[in-house]
């Protein structure tokens, strides 16, 4: 008779950057079912926004997540600007785009390092985080802080980019590109990495759309959907296409993120070449009123904000729908039939960010 075992995977686990519990029901070595348990990082931010001044909630929006903090602030600022009918200057839009792509770079490099660590390939993990430091230095030089930069505000940006800033970013991007080109063949061609990721966590195209997958998880299954094509900030003026792969497994998702790193470097260079002159801050008067929905592309997928304001200082409703919340059902589908040793690789391949999910 085949026996079933229940193994709790998490919430503390060396592979996950943040706490998530997956209760795995195993038969021999294969996973039959996985039940997630969340709630370890719930801080009640949506309720806090109903009692705080809407200009101070911008700082709260930044602190929803540490890795993708700039995107949350950007989406929030864009929502309030649209409710109040403020037109942000073109230079501010370009600056926001450059900083968003720097944030995407550092998030993908962090994930690549964690994935290498999940296989036990520690030296690759160290080398990836070493070249990530070039991005963090560029972020600190131009925005003021490595994480939680507070450089975006309602009406534009609080800081301007000087010529020394652009020169510093371009120098660091050159060093980053040399480092990335050195580790790219390791990720794509090393036989041990291929053995662990090829064929792990298959998510077919129909299942991906039906279960609501977003971001690199969706693009690794062959669907070309990228919210940057909506043209918010300055993305409408830059030239790029979504990166897609067709093999639907964890290897495809890893290649999508690697290629997106190169795409981000190219986008930053394009934006710096086309950077216009002008002011970066527009004065905003009045209080927001009405409701709005806004979507942007975070490193992990599609972020949706719903804001409802009623003309007073506090917002009536602030709803965040994060990519990891959308990617959880595909994860449960992918884990069925996997071996126990493949579970860390599959669970990491959707790039979980539990702080965003639970706010």
């Amino acid at each position: 008779m085949i026996r079933r075992t229940v193994i709790p995977f998490g919430p503390q686990h060396p592979v996950f950057p943040e706490p998530l519990q997956l209760r795995l029901i195993l038969e021999e070595e294969r996973v039959i079912e996985a039940i997630p348990a969340l709630g370890y990082m719930h801080r009640g931010l949506e309720q806090l926004a109903t009692v705080k001044d809407y200009t101070k909630t911008l700082f709260l929006a930044e602190r929803v997540c540490g890795i993708c903090s700039l995107m949350h602030a950007l989406c929030y600022a864009q929502c309030i600007e649209e409710l109040q009918g403020v037109e942000v200057s073109l230079r501010a839009k370009y600056l926001r785009t450059i900083w968003s792509e720097l944030a995407r770079l550092q998030s993908h490099l962090l994930w690549l390092g964690l994935t290498a660590d999940a296989f036990g390939f520690e030296s690759l993990f160290m080398q990836t985080w070493r070249i990530r430091e070039y991005v963090m230095d560029a972020v600190e030089f131009t925005e003021g802080n490595r994480v939680m930069a507070s450089s975006i505000t309602i009406g534009g940006t609080r800081r301007d980019l000087s010529p020394e800033g652009t020169a510093y970013i371009l120098t660091n991007l050159e060093k980053l590109e040399i480092g990335l080109s050195a580790i790219f063949p390791v990720f794509t061609e090393d036989p041990l990495i291929k053995q662990r990721t090829v064929g792990a966590g298959i998510l077919r195209k129909n299942d991906a759309l039906r279960l609501g997958a977003v971001g690199p998880t969706l693009r690794g299954s062959g669907v070309a959907q990228d919210m940057r094509m909506l043209g918010y900030a300055a993305y409408g003026e830059l030239d790029f296409q979504p990166v897609i792969e067709d093999s639907c497994d964890a290897y495809a998702r890893m290649i999508v993120r690697l290629k997106e790193c190169f795409q981000s470097i190219d986008l930053i260079r394009q934006a710096i070449r086309q950077l216009p002159e002008g002011q970066t801050l527009t004065k905003v008067k009045g209080v927001p009123d009405g409701e709005i929905l806004m979507r942007i592309e975070q490193p992990r997928g599609e972020l949706l904000y719903y804001i409802k304001a009623n003309g007073s200082k506090n917002l009536e409703r602030w709803r965040i729908h994060t990519p990891t919340l959308s990617n959880l059902p595909p994860l449960l589908h992918m884990l069925k039939g996997a071996r126990l040793a493949e579970v860390p690789v599959i669970a990491l391949s959707i790039d979980t960010c539990i702080a965003c999910t639970e706010r």
Binding site: T55, R130, G144, S150, R158
Partner: protein
């Protein structure tokens, strides 16, 4: 085998990848957000900084001419620096060091 030998020699002969702290310290970059400091001589006790602070960490008492800030609630966003009309609050580049007890930063203007 030869490739491994090349890697070993390269690693032996090149400088270390990390900074040798504490002999070499990293200087903060030019526009890094560090800590908030008060230049109390310029303060007119208008209370703007107290109103805009997102973390509610500044307290201004006009009658006693004191200005105090809780540096362990402060998120160093810089809004107080932006709204101050007389430049009585500045931000420097150095991070807070570790301490054993949390002491608020208080400043008193001499009444003369």
């Amino acid at each position: 085998m030869l490739e491994m030998l090349g890697t070993v020699l390269r690693n032996l002969l090149s400088p270390p990848a990390t900074r040798l702290y504490p002999e070499q310290r990293r200087e903060p970059l030019a526009s890094t957000r560090g800590q908030i400091e008060s230049v109390i001589e310029n303060c007119i006790f208008c209370g703007h900084c107290q109103r805009v602070c997102p973390a509610n960490c500044i307290e201004v008492i006009r009658t006693e001419k004191t200005w105090s800030l809780d540096p362990y609630r402060c998120i160093v966003c810089g809004r107080c620096v932006e709204v101050c009309p007389t430049e009585a609050i500045v931000m420097n580049r150095h991070f807070r060091g570790p301490v054993r007890q949390r002491v608020p930063l208080t400043a008193q203007q001499d009444s003369d």
